[in-house]
């Protein structure tokens, strides 16, 4: 359980005491809520339902995007400050370090995702009517969105971690995190849109299955690529 020690340290002492990352996450939380409030109106029928689902998707994924930047920032900062060396000198498996770092970032970001989704749901219910929103955003769909955002975060987080282990500076890691965010958001928005056009239920499930597969591949690559040898050579 040493990965949990690392994760808990990240959450307790890095994420919640880093004003810049809190501000960044705050921005990513506020933007989707602003979209919910500023929407002119929801038409009745399937088109309106699709808009509500789109808003819910934004609420849950915008904070997840900030998580990618967070992972890149903390990892490369550890390398720059040299704090990774004592960690690498401790009797911990490489995988525990990777998992600890990932969980340390994923947990607070997922909290932000759930809070934003709940706030977005509440705002939408207040603006467009609770019954209307409850019909479009079923508990199953909300649950699926949260699970998908988690899978998305783990996938992109693993990719970012591989990159952050290989680059030398925080700036380079942030630039690459930006590219990962932009590309993954594009892919995700496109696939999500296609899934919503094809029909109900199974396309979303297929998207989830695809992400699970990506998760497994990304974590396996992270496990193989991320090792002490590689990281220490670049510290």
């Amino acid at each position: 359980m040493k990965w949990w020690l690392i994760a808990w340290r990240e959450i307790r002492w890095e994420v919640f005491l880093d004003r810049a990352s809190l501000l960044r996450t705050g921005v990513f939380v506020v933007i989707p809520l602003f979209f919910v409030i500023s929407n002119r109106g929801i038409s009745p029928g399937p088109a309106g339902d699709a808009t509500l689902i789109g808003l819910a998707l934004q609420s849950v994924f915008f904070p997840a995007l900030s998580g990618v930047a967070l992972i890149a920032a903390t990892f490369s900062a550890e390398k720059e400050n040299g704090t990774l060396v004592p960690l690498l000198a401790a009797p911990i498996r490489d995988f525990d370090i990777v998992l600890g770092k990932l969980v340390g970032m994923v947990v607070p970001v997922m909290v932000a995702c759930v809070v934003t989704l709940a706030a977005g749901y509440g705002l939408a219910a207040y603006r467009y009517g609770a019954e209307r929103v409850a019909r479009a955003l079923t508990p199953e769909l909300l649950y699926a969105l949260i699970v998908l955002s988690l899978l998305y975060l783990v996938t992109t987080g693993s990719v970012t971690m591989i990159v952050a282990a290989r680059v030398k500076t925080s700036r380079a890691a942030q630039q690459i995190a930006g590219i990962v965010i932009a590309l993954s958001a594009l892919v995700f928005a496109g696939v999500g849109f296609l899934a919503s056009q094809i029909g109900e239920g199974w396309p979303l499930l297929a998207l989830g299955a695809g992400l699970v597969l990506l998760d497994v591949v990304a974590l396996e690559i992270a496990r193989r690529v991320w090792n002490r040898e590689e990281v220490i050579g670049r510290v």
Partner: protein
């Protein structure tokens, strides 16, 4: 104990260490010396289980770094030139975190004990970002000792410390030797090495140039003697040259002059030198053997290697 056995380490075709072997026994301080790029840091990282050797092996407390690097890491304490601390954490939480990583039985009690040992007990709840350079280095040492390791790897631990702090650190390292720790000190500070190291390992371009007791390495080479006198140095040098002794100028005090000469057989050469000088009317004050400093010995070893 550390037993480095024919270790070679390559990085993308560059050989950082080439067939390096040496030992560090419990209760012994061994200084690893060498110019920049000699492979000192690579060697200590391999011993600490952070890097794997390309060829050869390292045994720490009898455990192979190749077979069980995690067990080796659990037996080593690692101090680097930069303290590299998590600045947002208070000292108590920081030491507690590492104590837990090293499976220390009572992590919080151990953190408090170490803080007291290093005189940091009054700042246990202060954030590390507020600590001075000397205090931070103390924290790095406390972190390395948190699991009471039998082996300590100190990589330039006194860099950027003021003289008072350096002296305190030296005394602390010596106290650890008294407690039977095997200590490998990687350093550029030859004065520090001369003061505390029992043995030396000199690395150059990844190879071991010389190993041995500090005193033996300082004494190695031709014995050198200095004669101080009142009078003309040219007359003295000529007198020595006539006796077949080649001399060079040396520093002297109190208005005296000094010449230095090497003597492979001092029982024959020194009386001959004295006789020649006295016959030439040179008023000799002292004739003494000259002890080489570690710096001189080290530089002459490197110069020899470069030739």
């Amino acid at each position: 104990m550390i037993d480095v056995q024919h270790v070679t380490r390559r990085f993308d075709g560059t050989v950082a260490l080439d067939d390096v072997s040496f030992q560090v026994h419990p209760g012994e301080i061994v200084a690893l010396l060498g110019p920049n790029g000699a492979g000192k840091t690579t060697a200590s990282r391999i011993i600490g289980g952070i890097l794997a050797p390309s060829v050869g092996d390292v045994l720490v407390d009898g455990i192979s770094v190749r077979k069980d690097a995690n067990a080796v890491r659990a037996r080593c304490g690692f101090v680097t030139d930069q303290p590299s601390l998590y600045e947002r954490m208070p000292l108590r939480s920081y030491l507690g975190f590492f104590a837990r990583l090293y499976d220390v039985a009572q992590p919080d009690a151990r953190a408090a004990e170490l803080a007291k040992l290093l005189g940091l007990d009054d700042v246990l709840d202060r954030k590390l970002a507020t600590f001075s350079r000397g205090m931070r280095q103390k924290v790095a040492i406390a972190r390395a000792l948190v699991h009471d390791p039998p082996v300590l790897l100190l990589d330039e631990p006194a860099t950027a410390l003021d003289p008072e702090m350096s002296q305190m650190l030296r005394a602390f390292i010596i106290s650890l030797r008294a407690r039977h720790r095997a200590i490998l000190l990687t350093t550029h500070d030859l004065d520090e090495a001369q003061r505390i190291a029992d043995r030396l390992v000199v690395l150059y371009k990844g190879k071991v140039l010389r190993t041995g007791a500090t005193a033996d390495i300082r004494a190695a080479g031709r014995p050198t003697y200095t004669v101080t006198f009142a009078g003309d140095p040219a007359t003295a040098r000529d007198a020595l040259a006539r006796a077949g002794i080649e001399a060079e100028s040396a520093s002297a005090r109190d208005g005296l002059t000094a010449l230095r000469f090497a003597a492979d057989d001092p029982t024959a050469i020194n009386p001959a030198a004295l006789r020649a000088l006295l016959d030439a009317g040179v008023r000799v004050v002292t004739l003494a053997s000259e002890e080489r400093s570690l710096e001189e010995a080290y530089l002459s070893i490197l110069a020899e290697a470069r030739r």
